[in-house]
Symmetry: C2
Subunit: 134 residues, 2 copies
DNA sequence: ATCTCTATGATTAGTAT
DNA sequence: GATACTAATCATAGAGA
């Protein structure tokens, strides 16, 4: 039998421009975010590199990806010290300061991002400055 | 003529594990980083969202991607204020503090990352704390 | 290091659940 | 919000220039 009524049209070519239909945009966002994070994950493995990604959803929710084993270790180490609040946090930064190499700025910033995202840190560096009397 | 000696074998299936051969890894990294950034770019357009990516190359060089028009505007605005060094920078953060909404943490962090990457800011937040007498 | 080449493997648009 | 389906579009491995 010819043309056995295809169930779907398959992938269609699209123009890269903003999707207006809300429901379609939501589906596209979920798929493409997943695709992006998967690609990032493959990159970390295949090339043995560090990657951090932040994406804000159409609903302003923050989604993040990160994978260096080093970053994960830092986050774990930080976790215990940070949950204690601001004082613990400042102490953590000081401890951290003595051990981190120049090239690890990347990791520090990533760590801070994650903590901010989780609501465990003040919302911006500005708060620190004020607290410290700047 | 059958089998006109195919020029390439086409894409081959690979296992997702670290490539050991250095030259292959370098090529794969360049291609996959490009692919990742292209996907990110499409995501920002198709879904109208904000994305920031940091990747450390096998040679420890930092590559970044970012695209919200808002972020670009912030960076421009910041540029003038930041090039003056630490004092200007602190002042910038204070100015910034009065104007930025809670949901803009993302942008702030992204901005800081970019500045650190460019060597325009101290290497870590720790330095601020010390300077401010923490 | 970057750029073809290209067959093949991988992703995803549109729709329904 | 995420997942399943499927055909078509898209990305890229491996090799060479």
């Amino acid at each position: 039998m010819e043309n056995p009524k295809k169930k779907t049209l398959g992938r269609r070519k699209i123009e890269i421009k903003k999707i207006e239909k809300k429901s379609s945009l939501q589906v596209a966002f979920t798929k493409r975010r997943g695709g992006l994070f998967r690609k990032a994950s493959e990159l970390t493995v295949v090339c043995g590199v560090e990657v951090a990604i932040l994406v804000k959803s159409p609903a302003d929710k923050l989604h993040s990806f990160g994978h260096p084993p080093g970053v994960e270790a830092l986050i774990s180490r930080a976790e215990e010290k940070i949950v204690g609040g601001m004082e613990q946090y400042l102490k953590f930064l000081e401890d951290f300061g003595g051990k981190v190499e120049e090239k690890d700025n990347f990791l520090i910033v990533y760590l801070l991002m994650m903590k901010i995202e989780e609501g465990l840190l003040p919302s911006s560096p500005i708060d620190h400055l004020h607290i410290l009397g700047a």
